[in-house]
Amino acid sequence: MEDYAISVHGLSKRYSLGQKKPSHGAKGMLLGISELFGRTPQDDHSTIWALKDVSFEVRKGERLGFVGKNGAGKSTLLKILSRVAYPTDGEARIRGRVTSLLEVGTGFLNHLTGRQNIYLNASFHGLSKKETEQRIPDIIEFSELERFIDTPIKFYSSGMRARLAFSVAAHLDPDILLLDEVLSVGDMAFSQKCLERVEELTRGERTILFVSHSMDAVRRFCTRCIWLDCGQVVMDGPADEVTSAFTSDSMNLRAHQHWDPPPAQSTDQPRLLEDEDLPSNLPEPPHAHLVSTSILTQDGRQTATVCVADPIIFELIYEVYFNGAYVLPDFKIFTAEGILAFNLVHTGALASPDIKKRKPGRYRSIATLPPHLLNVGLYKISVSLTTPSSGKLVVHAEADNVLTFYVHEAPLGTTSALGPYRKVKGIIRPLVSWMDESVKQSS
């Protein structure tokens, strides 16, 4: 590929775990000399590979996200690409001007005022005084720190530093922007503003590398995503697929569950019973057992991550033992906190009376949730097979928390109930129609 913006080849980084204490005394001074002119200590038990043999290429204008657990090597990678850390092995090539926003208050000096720090920061990125002067009104306005701009930043709160850092970076007009968790700083309003600014920046020919723990942010801004684990690339592909796979893995998502048949009941021969209307004529429950359950996409694939704007399909396969048994499946949807969101009970009995008298055999029931019902978040499902009766509910089989799935944000440009907000509270998030009109005030 010729038009790459970043090319990383076999990049590795080793850190020494044991913090080396600066040594004292004459011995320490001499040791210092040997260390300065000697070789670095070689691989031993106290070292860790933060990155190991990482390779990828980023095209110009591509927006690449990085996901992974803490310590997976995402930040180390951005540090190496920002040239504030050296790789131990491998090579990276970058074409274009890079601006990176790694941590809060990137490259600020405490004793300088906000304004002086803007100049300093801009000069690190090669902007002359004149060029900085042209941008300073925009930067200050964006940061909303007019009142404090001539105050030394040692008096700034961490949120204010973050604002200033982001404002400078957002106005440096780089070819390549490296962002590490920056969007999670500051208050909600400012963080929203940053998101908008990143969106604005992504419209240009800019290449963006974005590290975040927010899968929704990655889905929103990135076209492509790399999943790192223990310093190695686990997966590299479209942001949608990679974030789904990562979420499934890290949240212990389960899209499918299968049960072995219980030995005792399944050996029973199905019996024909004369008085089919009376459940009491059937042997003692259970009359059925669970075979498997899954969450499916519209095209029938199993999935544990679903978009808010897509329908969610629950499938339950079960085996009925006796002729004339009345067995209905149901699903309970719980939030991650264990609150019952709702119970999906089978309404088929009303529609088709046949279901009240089943023949022995294997059945498959499917329940489809409409799009825009559940809010973004993690959900668990319990399933059961029951017979509704006038007295106590007869439970033939049940299994708690068998499946776990994650509902994620719709990609940019998709209609959803999110609107211009960053997050909407609540368990459900229906897409409703709004009507607005002006109303004449009565005099």
Partner: protein, 282 residues
């Protein structure tokens, strides 16, 4: 937003490699970053003379007071210096060069400690940090040179053709300060004791280098030994550039120049090495 083309430090391709495979000294890159070097130096000059209104006084007070005291001692003790120029001019010129050197070394040696936090956040050629510290010291030297001119006028001293040597001698002094400073900057990341040692060396150096005395005052054997000190040739070269009557001790100065070159390389090597290992100790 209008796109603004920024000329420096634009680069066709940035290549990131392990320290062992990357160049120790990238002069081209340093040149591309000259704008930043300039603004870093200017910031330090401003900090010294901008905010502190007495900045100029402090720069002048030390060499002037010391000159006054030592001229007084010399006059009351009738000591013979054996130099061909008036003692006050000899002494004051020596003091300002020594303080320039000592301050430069000190700034360069403190650069990793001072800019370390910055180095872990933003990229810039790391050598800009000690370099800017030394460049900033030139402003102090320039201010301290004003009384020197007055002294020279008072004694009717004129520079000769040797004045052309002045920039070369100054560059050599800066190179020596840069090498020494970088070396100690590197060493002090490993042990605090090196900082103390540097402080002691710079303090003693003032008295063992030919600042206050002239080499001619020493016995022959001692003269040879004290010429091993790279600042000896430097100080004598500086005076030879300033005063037409003062002969340039060519070999002594060439020795200082050679040693400055060696120390410069050793300093760059040690500094880069220390910076690269220092970066991982976050």
């Amino acid at each position: 937003m209008a796109t603004i083309n920024t000329a420096s430090p634009k680069q066709a391709e940035i290549i990131i490699r392990p320290p062992t495979q990357s160049r120790l000294l990238d002069v081209g890159e340093l040149f591309r970053y000259r704008g930043l070097l300039w603004s870093m130096s200017r910031r330090q000059v401003k900090a010294e003379f901008g905010d502190l209104h007495l900045g100029i006084f402090w720069v002048l007070a030390r060499p002037l007071l010391m000159t006054a005291i030592f001229v007084f001692f010399k006059n009351v003790s009738n000591a013979k210096t054996g130099v061909s120029v008036p003692y006050a001019a000899y002494l004051y010129s020596g003091l300002i060069l020594w303080f320039f050197f000592a301050e430069s070394v000190g700034r360069a040696a403190a650069s990793i400690g001072k800019d370390g936090a910055l180095m872990q956040k933003v990229y810039f050629p790391r050598l800009l940090s000690p370099l800017s510290g030394i460049l900033a010291q030139l402003s102090g030297l320039a201010i301290a040179a004003v009384p020197l001119f007055l002294i020279m006028i008072y004694y009717g001293l004129a520079p000769g053709w040797n004045l052309l040597l002045l920039p070369i001698v100054l560059l050599q002094t800066m190179l020596l300060a840069f090498g020494t400073g970088c070396l100690f900057a590197a060493l002090s990341t490993l042990s605090r004791d090196w900082e103390r040692l540097l402080g002691l060396l710079l303090y003693i150096g003032l008295f063992v280098s030919p600042v206050i005395f002239a080499p001619e005052m020493l016995p022959k054997a001692a003269q040879g030994i004290q010429m091993l000190n790279p600042m000896s040739g430097t100080l004598l070269g500086f005076r030879a550039a300033l005063f037409a009557d003062y002969a340039l001790p060519l070999y002594e100065w060439l020795y200082s120049l050679a040693l400055s070159g060696v120390l410069g390389l050793v300093g760059v090597f040690a500094f880069q090495h220390a910076e690269r290992t220092f970066m991982d100790r976050i």
